[in-house]
Symmetry: C2
Subunit: 791 residues, 2 copies
């Protein structure tokens, strides 16, 4: 519960619209936010939503998921085992800039007269368009239409259609650029010095991309690079296809740092001047830039031959597939009828953009909408994004877990370094090794191992993909269980304790028996043991192979089960609550309400020691456990815990609100549920955390989906059983969503009097609704009257 | 209790001698150790004991106490309130190098034929001499005698007398150099990258000293500098006085980085060639280098006019004054009769060198014998060195406390930054602000405040200097008491708790109710309250002035007393011991004995998280409290606590052994007492910690004195009452020491049958010996028969 409020957005920015985010006017104070909100991405490639002209640009950026530079982490004071290899996503050469000159006058949006101005993120079509009428200084009128897309179908492709039409004849110059911002220049170099906000990306302040190739093939540009330290390779091929009836001249110049294609047109009245720009990015950890360039050329040939329209059509087709499974409808009675609907869609759209083509990579905390958090993967993927994907795009969920599996060698090495058996996954990373320079809120979050084990179970349960266990899951389960068994110990009380860890709440670090951690570790241990036993019984060959490969001792599953059985879970009988850790309740409570609003987030205004010693939460920690392991708590426990921790929770983490909303829903605290759902859904659009200019909070976007579907919708899947217990707040007239479960497709429509459950695809589906067992079949929607609730 | 053993020193290094440390042969493997062991210093100025020729030199260094460069501390991950200003002692231009050429052949000790070789640290005279016979490649014999001193009388002065005599005529060249190593060159630049050992000094890897002055005045060199960032100024004036009967020529060259004076002599047989080199250093925080140079010239005039002999005579006089008060005699029956006596004297000599002229500065952890720990001041000064000084040179003790008082403005600002009232002294610093880049083992050691309050009380009690309170002490006491009152809080149990702190044992950090901290804070609170009450009653004017200045509220002393009274001190009734902190005993014990010896110190071989979560000690923490606050524990408690913690104590801190020895003495564990006294006294000479090459462990040297005088001698001064309860171990035949107490001078001689207590100066002295009250008067030594002890 924070004192912060949700700011009303300005009129010109994103007025209510079901499917569109419209910028009606460019203003400097909202420019950086708009760059984030209007960013495009397909999960492999992303560009921030800067103006076509490339200026003013607050934080221009083009990112390839996982394409990173490394650097040695220098610790102000050294210690054994600290993270050594910094990893930072690279701002790769940007192709979005297209400058326009009419009568030699450049279009510069902040000062231009623009009687008409619309920049529109079209979430149904997956396009960013701009429609603008410019009254030029020489009194002419130029109509500009541009359409930008990052292709969901062709993951390497960005395309921009740029068209200008004049009302009178004039010389028109279109200057299309390729700008390399990875290497510092006097223009945009920033000092490599420490930044006050630890959440920002690292500024290396040095050259990052070594040119390997720079060719001009006709008007085509082909550029190749290699990162200086990490040795990753990149190729970029760019082509321009003009469609100009008026007389014109073209010139092209290739340069590793600043290439350009310029078309000068003697534009005639009402004759459109159109150029389509196609760019193909290829990246690799090892393939030489030459070979990548060859592939990029090949793709570029195909794309340019087909033209722009097929890209647009394919984009719509992909978005249709996405919305078909993922759309959530919501009728709000409190705000403008579609304001919240728009926010819901924008959050879901971010999830599509972050994950659609993230093959062979994770999902960075900001997706590909900014370089904050250095483009690192955290537990956000497994814990927030994965449930959404498992219920809507399970194929992507599986890919993400496979990618995590590919990091197992690094996790094993890290465990060794920390004197532990098994594997310990890093708190934050791109390439697999720990990149957190602050181990107390990094490596000490051992819960990562259990979060991953939990995500595997969740995915397998939701999709019914048991084959995944033998292929990938079991190895992770064994190695994480080993880590827990070695990390903990049996105390004098005979119970299994885990000391010196940090839970999800980073305002308290290095504690003993963090409830969240111990509960999740217990699940990890039990699930690993039962999985191996089941494999042994059901797939003896697979089991034998795995056992040999992992040198699994017969006693190990027993050890895990015993540790799980004896796992110490803190409990306070007096208050009837779950202490966050062994000593949390003995600390001095922090008066969150009395803290001046300008001192939030606390992490930017108080020394860590000030928060560590007190009862104050960055994010709901026990509440999180009650959500993930809801079947291990009684409703009464949930109420008591929520009521205790809620006033201590600052919500300084963007991960917090969604979980608080879900549990508030569950315990019938409708007011809190709605309040937190607002925070979750408007986290970025209303800039609740004050840093949306650095990128989208992807986990919060997924949390918004969870708050609606799992919170209001009451969907659960404990032990693989799909249960739905709707709790639609009074405030919302209706809620509709879809779920994919064991290859069945279910559509749910909730209102305050009627509920509809329709199976649209697949075999009959068993589901428990409001405690009643039902079997749904296709073509026969179940309609239920909503029982009246008490006052 | 560690598995480590004390290595036997090689024959050629420091053979047993009562007053001398003799290097009989130069060997590369012991060169760095010898540079530390043979370092010279006066507390203001120090030089490492490198060979005259300056090469080979392992870690050449000349240091001025407090003369430092600053730099921005870059944290790998930022947080609010982290230390920002790095402070590093500067390796100032060095004057010790004097090269010798005979027949154009340079003397290079590692390869030279030297039938006679003695390098001698003469601790009675305060000189480093070398006496060497060199058989030159051309078959001549050169007799070299050099004497180096850092003047105790003239704190700015270093002088070297250098003399060479040949058996046959030959051209001789003496090249005397001034080498500036503060600025990196290709010769000795080191990367600015992180070093694995956090205890080492920082390498800035950039220019530190800006030349401001470089003059040659005849053969005199005058150099001036200013540090680039901290803006401190330095002047150095060097002169050479030759005493050469043979024909010779002199040339001089001034250069900010490498000046030299060269004398070329047609040396005649048996005619000595002698040059005396005088150097004067002046430094300041603000005085321009020009002005400092003027002062240096002035001093140089005086010194050179008087010549070398008066410096030698004054040196002996100072050392006589030191030894008269500080000497400790010890007869060991186990080793060579004088081996331990030599070690005792060497440790005491280090204390003299570290403190004698440390006016206006603190005592760095390594004195001025190396740049490890960046030349920072820690609690070592107040807690280890100050008791020694209070009992031997109380004037210096007072100066050190005054210097701490001068840091109060910084400590107040730091408290504000940490959201605390009063003042919080830094864990490590030169100029007053926190320089610890690792707050968990730095700023979190809030006990600094109480250590300083304790030291004030101790000094006042031992010297009877009550005037110090009104002048300086009260202000510190009030501000530190305020910090504690604000830091702690009243828990549900009504007790006053202090959470989230790190005690002296750095293998456990950020704990609740660290016993050491709470006990010391209680003393701080009580002493501040009683001091202010006494002032109010006895010196109302002083009290009124202080109250106004500090805005002291009448309720504050009451608040402090209540907090002290309700202070929670952990206690474990089952084991009858004092838990190190609220939860320490619940942790998994570390098996210190089973840990391979090559994995010590643990801090270089285990991640902090591995030690933090377990019961394992870097240094004796509760044992330390039992020593400092011995009157607050029963003998039974001391025994139980010692027996519990001793097996868990690695002694990875050099501060540990002395305290363990003292408490072992007290509880009658003679074996442990002797074992730890060996570790304390031989810490550096036997290189127990493996890092003596980086400098002397000054606190351990002082700890050696404490282990003998307070441990074996059984001297205590609780509540200002001098008590002596000797516990001379069987192994030692006798122990003699002196104590200055309330301006009386007492000499104590202990053996196993007779003890003598002689007052040699001052009014009659009340002292409690073995529980009996005695009043000693001058000229009438008290002789006591030692009571027989049980089996």
């Amino acid at each position: 519960m924070t004192q912060r409020t949700i700011a009303v957005p300005p009129e010109h920015l994103f007025p209510p619209d079901e499917w569109q985010m419209i910028e009606r006017r460019w203003t400097p104070e909202f420019a950086a936010r708009a760059e984030t909100a209007l960013a495009l991405s397909n999960g492999y490639l992303g560009v921030r939503g800067c103006l076509d002209e490339g200026r003013p640009a607050m934080a221009p950026g083009t990112f390839i998921n996982g394409f990173h530079e490394t650097w040695p982490i220098i610790h102000a004071e050294e210690a054994y085992g600290l993270a050594r290899v910094g990893q930072t996503i690279v701002n790769v050469p940007d192709v979005t800039t297209i400058e326009l000159y009419v009568d030699d006058e450049p279009l510069f949006v902040p000062t231009a007269r623009t009687p008409e101005y619309f920049r529109v993120l079209d979430m149904r079509n997956g396009l960013l368009t701009r429609d603008l009428l410019w009254s030029t200084p020489s009194g002419k009128h130029a109509r500009l239409r541009s359409t930008r897309l990052v292709s969901l179908e062709h993951r390497h492709v960005i395309a921009v259609s740029y068209e200008v039409t004049l009302d009178r004849a004039a010389p028109v110059v279109i200057r299309s650029r390729v700008i390399n911002r990875a290497n510092p220049t006097t223009d945009h170099a920033e000092a490599g010095e420490g930044q006050e906000d630890p959440r920002l990306g690292t500024r290396l302040g040095r050259r990052v991309l070594d040119p390997r190739l720079c060719e001009q093939e006709g008007d085509r540009l082909v550029l190749g690079y290699r990162t200086v330290q990490s040795g990753m390779t990149l190729a970029l091929a760019v082509d321009h296809v003009p469609d100009v009836a008026s007389p014109h001249e073209v010139s092209t110049e290739a340069d590793p740092d600043a290439s350009e294609y310029v078309i000068a047109v003697d534009a005639e009245p009402d004759v459109p001047v159109r150029v389509v720009k196609y760019a193909v990015y290829q990246s690799s950890r090892s393939v030489p830039a030459d070979e990548l360039a060859r592939r990029a050329r090949h793709t570029l040939d195909r794309i340019t031959a087909a033209g722009f329209e097929p890209l647009v059509t394919a984009q719509r087709a992909c978005m249709d597939r996405f919305w078909d499974r993922a759309d959530v409808t919501l009728e709000d009675t409190q705000n403008h009828p579609v304001r919240m609907q728009q926010a819901v869609r924008w959050n879901l759209y971010q999830l599509a953009q972050a994950s659609w083509r993230a093959e062979g990579a994770g999902i960075p905390a900001k997706g590909l909408t900014g370089d904050a958090y250095d483009g690192h993967y955290f537990w956000d993927t497994e814990t927030w994004v994965l449930p959404f994907l498992a219920y809507t795009q399970p194929r992507i969920a599986r890919n993400l877990l496979r990618f995590r599996h590919s990091m197992l060698p690094s996790a094993r090495a890290r465990a060794r370094e920390l004197d532990l058996k098994g594997a310990l996954f890093p708190w934050r990373t791109i390439r697999g090794d720990e990149a957190s320079a602050y181990f107390m809120a990094g490596t000490a979050q051992y819960h990562l191992d259990a979060d991953i084990a939990y995500a595997i179970r969740r995915y397998v349960d939701i999709r019914g993909d048991t084959g995944f266990i033998a292929e990938t899951g079991a190895e992770i389960l064994v190695e994480t269980a080993r880590m827990w068994a070695d990390l903990g110990f049996y105390g004098d009380d005979g119970r299994f304790h885990i000391h010196g860890v940090t839970g999800p709440d980073e305002y308290t670090t290095m504690v003993d028996d963090n409830a969240f951690t111990n509960l999740m570790a217990r699940l990890n241990l039990n699930y690993a043991a039962s999985t191996m036993r089941r494999l042994e019984a059901e797939q003896p060959d697979v089991y034998a192979g795995l056992s040999a490969e992992l040198d699994l001792q017969p006693s190990e599953p027993e050890d895990w089960e015993r540790a799980a059985e004896q796992m110490y879970i803190p409990h306070d009988p007096t208050r009837g609550i779950t202490p966050q850790d062994a000593t949390f309740l003995t600390h001095e409570p922090w008066d969150v309400r009395a803290t001046p609003s300008e001192r939030f987030p606390l992490l930017l205004h108080y020394h860590p020691l000030s928060t560590y010693r007190r009862q104050v939460l960055k994010q709901a920690d026990v509440v999180m456990a009650m959500f993930l392991l809801g079947n291990e708590f009684t409703l009464d426990q949930k109420r008591r815990n929520f009521d205790y921790y809620d006033p201590l929770t600052t919500g300084d983490s963007s991960l917090s609100a969604s979980v608080q909303s879900i549990v508030a829903s569950e315990i019938g605290n409708e007011r809190a549920a709605c309040r937190y759902v607002d925070f979750a859904l408007l986290m970025d659009l209303a800039d609740v955390a004050g840093n949306v200019s650095h990128g989208v909070h992807i986990a919060s976007a997924a949390g918004g989906w969870m708050a609606l579907v799992l919170g209001f919708g009451g969907v659960r899947d404990f032990d693989g059983e799909l249960t739905i217990d709707p709790r639609l707040p009074e405030r919302f007239r209706s809620l509709g969503f879809s779920l994919r479960f064991h290859d069945r497709q279910l559509r749910v429509a909730l209102s305050h009097d009627l509920e509809s459950y329709a199976l649209t695809e697949g075999d009959p589906l068993a589901v428990v609704i409001r405690g009643e067992h039902h079997t749904l079949t296709t073509g026969d929607a179940l309609e239920l009257k909503v029982p009246a609730t008490g006052p």
